[in-house]
Each structure stands twice: as C-alpha cells, then as structure tokens.
C-alpha cells in the first residue's frame, strides 16, 4: 500500500528535483505521467528552490535535476556533481509593474529601465531566495551596474507566485518568468512593462546526478528521464504547452541546441 | 417579621426526580435551625438553594424579607452568607490563602485579612498549618480550614453542612462550645445539617427533619424528639419502641391503650377506639430487678425478660421481651448494680407522659 516504504523496487523510483516554476505551470503534470507510462519508472517530483535542488543533487538525494540557473549549473558540473547536462527549453523573464508605471519604464531597454527604477526609488520586489529567477535578477542588476539597496528594494524571500502577489499588493516592480506571470495574471493588476530583451531569456537544463556519488542513485532512471525530455515528441509537447490555456506557449524547446 | 431567610413553594427537580420540595421554611434572625434526615433526603440541596448557589426549579428565596432574583441580588446575599460544605473543597493554595479567600473577595485591607485569618486559624487549632499547601491536610484539618474559611467572614447567616463530621471529639467539643457562644453573642443566624442527634439537641433552637426531599417536622428539639409527628420522624429521631395500639379509655387526657392485650397509660387526647402508635424512647424506660422496691412515678410497669444487651458507648441498650419488644437505655452503673444478664427477668417502668401517641 501507499504507506509501505517506496512502492515497488527502489530501482523504479526516480527522484526529480526541480524548481517550483515547472510544477506550478503544470508542465510536469503533463510530462511525468507520459514518462511513467512509457518507461515504467515512477517519478517523485520534488519541487523546491533551484538552490535546494542543486544542493539535493550535490548530496546525491536526487537522481535527476531540471533547473534554470546556468551559472550555478556550470559550477555544479565543474565540481563533478552532475553528468550529461543538456539544454531542454527556455522561456523568458518579463519586468512587470503597476499599470500606472510611476518610474516610466514602459518599453525601455532593460538596463535603462532598471536604472530608472533605482533612481526613482520605486518599489522593487526581489525574490531574494537564491532561486534561478533571483540569480537572474541579480545578474541583471549587475549588468546594469547598480547595487540595489534601500527601502525601495524589498527582499520577499519567497517563490514567484508570492513575489508577484506582494508586488501587486505593494504596486511594485518585479521580475518574473513569463509562465508564472501568465498563470497568475488574472488575479493581478500588474502589467508587462519590459520584455523580449535577450538578457531576459531563461534556460532550463536537465542534469543527471553523478552516479559515482552514491550507490543509491538511480542513474538509469535519470538517464531515461533525460532522454525522454529531450526526445522530439516531448519537445513537441513542450512547444505547445500553454497554447490552449494562455493563448501562447510558455516554453520554447531547446533540445540539441547550443547556447 | 424578623426572618432573615425564607423560602416559599420551593421545588428542586432534576429530570423527573424531585430532590427538594418545601412549601415554606424560614430562619429567624439569631436563630439556630438544625436540619436532620436520612442520607439523600435533600439536606445539602436545600442548603445550596438557601445559599443562593443553586437555582431552584421553582419557588422564591427571600433574604432579609426581599426576594432574591437578579444575579446582583444573589451576589449581595451571598456576601452576607457563609457556607461550609459537606466535603471541604480547598483550593490549591496555602491554608492561609484558602481561609483568606473570602475576605480577599470582599477587598478587605491586607492587615485586617492577616489578623482575622490568623485569629480563626488559631481558634481552630490549625495556625501552625497556615503555610502548608491545603492539599496536604488531613481530613479533619481540612474540615477545620473549611470552617475557618466561613467563620472568618463574620456573615449574617451561616450555613453548615455536617461541619463536624471529621473532627476529633476533643476539638469538636471545644468548637461546639465556642461556636455556640459566638452564634449567640453575634446574633448570627445559622442553619446546620447534622446526623448527630446530640449536636442537634444541643445547638438547635428548632430542628427540621427531612425525608425524601420534604420537611417532615419543624419544631423545638423537645417536640421533635419527644413528640414526633409521624412514625418516620419517630424512627429517625431514635424512638426505638413503636407499638401499635388502640385507645380503650380516655380520662381527661390520660388514656388507657391496649397493646396486644396489655394495658398502658399514655398522655393523649385521642378518643376510645382510635388506632394509635405509641412511641417510647429508650431513655424513658428504666428497669427494675424483680426484688427491687418500686420508686419514682412511673405509671406503666411491664414485666419482661432481657433478650439482648447491646453496648452503646459507655451505656447499654437493653432489648426486653414483654410480649412485644421494648428497648431501654441503662447506664453501666445501673447494669452493674442490677447485675443484668440476658435471660434475666426485669420490669420496665415508664411514665404515661413518656409515651408519645401518634395516630395510625
């Protein structure tokens, strides 16, 4: 029964550590059952912060990772924690803010927009949780040569959904991945103010945890998942995911591409 | 009228069982009313109602002549009444704090509280226990604390529910003496429940006998014990000989009664032919040996045989067979002098006025 330890042989279980965004958009709810049907593996999707996902990989507590923090991923790979890092897909980030746009950034290039927000001391909510999105945001500030600090720079320390909601309530600016923004858009008064900047692209990779770390790692399952998610059929599903619900796709498949 | 506490048409019912039903009962200012009655007859319940602690199902309780209805009235009345419960329920605090509790409720100054509490602890012989947690007291010590807790309040009315039941005889004696002085001196009005006849006789101005939730008789101690109004009261008050008889002759208040063929003289107005019960307290019966010269004024002399001698404290209850059973009470001295043994022939002597006659 479900209360007994690990249904089935442990070799059938694959632990997928991923970020909340993939789960919250519902993409994994589509992909995982497919994978399970196809391969007979049972996937345990653990949706956590990117930092935690990578830490789980580092400790060998997960078999496969689906994450989006290129810089950290590279460090992770360099340290030998993972093998076979492969691009899966990307989506993009958007800079959203109140419709009134008090800092007047609508349509500006990203770096300029960030500069105006900082100089106007308009409230900006940062996720502050070391997630992929947070890392991206920090990178963007750095590129804009601004060290954000002060009362206007709010450190929410939460996931994307909560950060958006806080921004909405505070009528503040924030950076969000498009998927989460679209998913929550209906309840929010925030508008997309800056988008489609090359710097705002958000790349997801799949990484198999290095099986040399521990005998308990199910590398076969990890490899199967990795293969599955970059397979053409899956990539096709990703391409069209969200079409129906949001009128636009949430992700762009990337498999096989170099970036 | 100078009644301090009064109930009218009182009824206490739980579900279908009637716990107390009292059409009228009152307590005069300065009076001591003793309440007796078998277990479960409603004494404690009545006291709770009189203490404004329990709302009766029906009826009104008057305090100082005014009906007490509102919660505020109730509090004011309660502040003039102190009650000692049958089981001493002390709070989890020191003995001192327990005894001080009522005074504290009344917001008396600390120094007064200390003086008064200590005075009463002293009086009840538990001053040395003042700082002890109340939970460590022995049964009798707890009852003393419970008494002190009520008496320290100097209430207008004192309701005592078997307040001496766990006390040792020495302190009980002292306390009863003491209490009697206080009650009389301070004109305290008191109702107290007791199972001890001698307490009731000694302290009560009037005695109420309860049975089955009803008050069977309220009267002076002499009347209740000497002239019980019913067989039930008679039995309860310790009349051990109750003989069914029929009036044969009536001579200006002195009647000749036939009891199983024997003739007894009794003081009663009942007319010939009436069927009556003769109540004879064992204390009224004296015994004479067969050779003893008749002394005293006893009009009834019944020869009989000693059936049983039952020790009762320092005295004896002697059961005689005189054709029917008669119980007599003799002191050890008398028994020794007469050298009384079971099977001995003796004569029971008692006055016509020693018999109380109630109609059957």
């Amino acid at each position: 029964t479900a209360l007994s330890p690990a249904a089935g042989a442990s070799g059938k279980n694959v632990i997928l550590a991923t970020t909340t965004s993939t789960q919250d958009t519902g993409l994994l709810d589509v992909l995982v059952p497919l994978f399970e049907k196809k391969t007979g593996y049972l996937v345990k999707t653990i949706a956590v912060g990117t930092g935690e996902a990578l830490a789980m990989g580092e400790r060998g507590e997960a078999d496969v990772l689906l994450v989006h923090a290129p810089a950290s991923e590279e460090k992770f790979m360099a340290a030998g924690h993972g093998i076979n890092r492969k691009p899966v897909m990307h989506n993009d980030f958007v800079l959203v803010g109140p419709a009134a746009d008090p800092a007047r950034i609508m349509g500006l290039p990203l770096a300029e927009a960030l500069g105006k927000i900082a100089s106007a001391k308009a409230i900006f909510v940062s996720r502050g949780d070391d997630s992929g999105t947070h890392k991206m945001e920090k990178k963007l500030w750095k590129e804009a040569k601004i060290t954000p600090s002060g009362n206007w720079y709010v450190d929410a320390g939460q996931g994307m959904g909560e950060t958006l909601r806080i921004s909405d309530q505070k009528q503040a600016y924030t950076i969000s991945d498009r998927g989460t923004y679209l998913a929550l858009k209906n309840g929010l008064s925030l508008k997309i103010l800056v988008e489609k900047d090359r710097a705002l692209l958000n790349f997801y990779s799949v990484i198999e945890v290095n099986p040399a770390k521990s005998t308990r790692i199910n590398n076969a399952g990890a490899k199967a998942f990795s293969d599955f998610i970059i397979s053409p059929e899956t990539q096709e599903i990703i391409r069209h995911f969200g079409d129906k619900k949001y009128g636009q796709p949430l992700f762009v498949p990337d498999a096989g591409q170099q970036r | 009228m100078n009644t301090i506490l009064q109930v009218r048409d009182l009824l206490v019912r739980v579900h279908t069982s009637i716990l107390v039903e009292v059409p009228h009962l009152w307590l005069e200012r300065g009076e001591i009313l003793a309440v007796m009655g078998p277990n479960g007859s409603g004494k404690s319940t009545l006291l709770q109602v009189l203490g404004f602690l329990r709302k009766p199902t029906a009826g009104t309780v008057f305090f100082s002549g005014r009906p007490v209805a509102s919660r505020r009235d109730g509090l004011l009345a309660r502040r003039q009444i102190a009650m000692v419960f049958q089981e001493p329920l002390l709070c989890q605090a020191s003995v001192f704090a327990n005894v001080a509790m009522g005074l504290r409720f009344r917001k008396l100054p600390g120094s007064t509280v200390t003086t008064e509490v200590n005075r009463w602890l002293e009086r009840l012989g538990i001053l040395h226990l003042a700082d002890r947690p109340a939970q460590t007291l022995s049964g009798g010590e707890a009852q003393r604390a419970s008494l002190a807790r009520a008496l320290v309040l100097k209430p207008a009315v004192l309701l005592l529910d078997e307040p001496f039941s766990a006390l040792d005889p020495q302190i009980k004696e002292v306390l009863i003496e003491d209490l009697y002085e206080i009650l009389r001196h301070e004109e305290l009005s008191t109702i107290f429940v007791t199972h001890d006849h001698s307490e009731a006789l000694r302290l009560g101005d009037r005695i109420a006998v309860m049975g089955n939730g009803r008050i069977l008789q309220v009267d002076t101690p002499q009347k209740v014990f000497g002239m019980p109004s019913s067989e039930q009261v008679a039995l309860f008050t310790g009349v051990e000989t109750i003989l069914p008889g029929t009036i044969v002759e009536q001579r200006e208040g002195l009647a000749l009664v036939d009891v199983r063929g024997k003739r007894l003289e009794a003081v009663t107005q009942a007319s010939p032919g009436e069927r009556v019960l003769l109540c004879l307290r064992p204390e009224e019966v004296s015994l004479m040996g067969p050779n003893q010269i008749r002394t005293g004024t006893a009009r009834n002399l019944l020869p009989g045989v000693v059936e049983r001698i039952i020790p009762s404290g320092f005295h004896f209850r002697v059961v005689l067979d005189c054709g029917f059973q008669i119980v007599a009470f003799v002191t050890r001295q008398s028994r020794d002098e007469m050298n009384l043994k079971e099977g001995d022939p003796v004569t029971a002597a008692f006055k016509a006025s020693g018999i109380h006659v109630i109609p059957r």
Binding site: A2, L3, S4, P5, A6, A7, S10, N13, I15, T20, Q23, D24, T25, G26, D29, V32, L42, V43, K44, T45, I46, A47, R59, G60, E61, G159, G161, E162, A183, L184, N186, G187, S214, R216, I217 | Q135
Partner: protein, 232 residues
C-alpha cells in the same frame, strides 16, 4: 470574498462529482494523519502518564523538553526527518523519503509531544488520592492507567483533537518529507499550497473547505464522545 463562495461551490462540485483524484487525496490525508495520531497516542499516552505520575529529578526539565516539542517547527521536523531518511542519512537504506511512511514519521514527531504534554497535564490535574483509591481496589498498573485516562477523558480528547488538528492541517513537514508527489504523497494541505501557488484560488479554497469539513466531522464525533454524560 466572492472567491470563497466560488471555492465553496467548487468544493461541493468536487465532492458531488466524486472526483477520484480528490478522493484519493482526502483518503491519504486521513490515513496519514490518522495513523500518525494513533501512533502518537500509543506512544504519548503512556509516556505522558508516566511523566505525570512518577517523581524523579529532572522531571521538570523533561516536561519542558516535551512542551518544547509542542512547538517543534514543522519545517525543522521536516528537515530533520529528511536528513534521517536521506540516502546519505542513517536510515537512507529504508528508502522511505517521499513516501507516506515518511509523512507519518514527521507527523508523529509533531503530534506526540502535544499528546504527551497535554496528557501529563491532564493526569497531573486529577486528584492524587484517586490513584491510591484505584490501587486499593486491586488495580494493576495497566488497569490503573486505564481508569485514570477515563477520568481525564475530557482534556485527553481535547489533546487528541489538538494533535489531530495540528497534523492534518500541517504542510511544512509533509511537503518536505512527502514531496507532494501526485498520486503518492499529495495530501489536502500540500495540494492546497500547490493550487495556491498555481493561482487557482478557488480550487485552493475548495480543498481547504474539504479539509475543514473533514476536521469538523472528526472533531464533532470526538466532542460528542468527550461530552457524553454532560458536565461530569
């Protein structure tokens, strides 16, 4: 507030349609929390009773520790249990992480101190002479404990309800050790969080209402049992 109405409507729909997924989630919630409370009772009631009745140096300290346990942060418990069950942890070999069993373990860690602490207080509150009275009737230790527990029925059942309420409504720990895996370890609270995160407030509210409804029914039954026979 319209969201709540929508949620209520949705909740009704879910229940009436007998959505098998929701049914499974509800069942798992009940099974996990029920098992956890049961285990906590089996552990907690004897321990609480012993703590209440025995006198030993350091008793206060132990009681404080237990009472501190009532304030175990679920995420901390989740973290610790995770660490235990991690592949690299001491119990990694059991492969329990992300299974209902792991959730039960975490919930026991949360509920047991509540049960122990409240049981100890309930038993201590009883008249100590009652214990002697029962022993004098020839009770052995088991019989004594049983009667004492019956005497403290009121606060004990309140303890059970507090414990059950605490774990069935808890999300931090079960999320961590259960992982909210669909079809395996998703319970009402983790589902609620997920739906909230996905912005499906109406579904979240519907799930919450279902959870509240279940808790209410369980507590109604327990309260009726508790209050049987009125105020003593």
């Amino acid at each position: 507030m319209d969201l709540i109405l929508q949620g209520a409507k949705h909740a009704l729909e879910l229940l009436i349609q007998g959505d098998p997924e929701i049914f499974q989630v509800v069942l798992l919630s009940l099974r996990v929390s029920g098992t956890a409370v049961l285990i906590s009772l089996l552990l907690g009631i004897p321990l609480g009773t012993i703590l209440a009745l025995s006198e030993f140096p350091g008793r206060r300290l132990v009681l404080s520790l237990v009472n501190t346990g009532m304030g175990f942060p679920p995420v901390v418990v989740g973290l610790f249990v995770s660490m235990l069950l991690w592949r690299s942890g001491p119990l990694g070999g059991l492969d329990l992480l992300y299974t209902p069993a792991a959730m039960v373990i975490a919930q026991v860690a949360l509920a047991a101190p509540i049960i122990i602490g409240l049981t100890a207080a309930a038993i201590q509150q009883l008249n100590p002479k009652l214990r002697l009275q029962i022993l004098s009737l020839g009770a052995n230790r088991r019989q004594l404990m049983w009667i004492l527990l019956r005497e403290a029925r009121l606060p004990l059942l309140a303890a059970v309800m507090a414990g059950f309420g605490g774990v069935i409504s808890e999300v931090g720990a079960v999320m961590m050790v259960g992982g909210n895996v669909k079809g395996q370890t998703r319970v009402l609270t983790t589902a609620t969080v997920l739906e909230t995160r996905m912005g499906h407030f109406d579904v979240a509210i519907a799930l919450s209402l279902v959870l509240l409804g279940i808790t209410f029914l369980v507590n109604l039954a327990l309260t009726i049992f508790q209050q049987r026979g009125g105020t003593r």
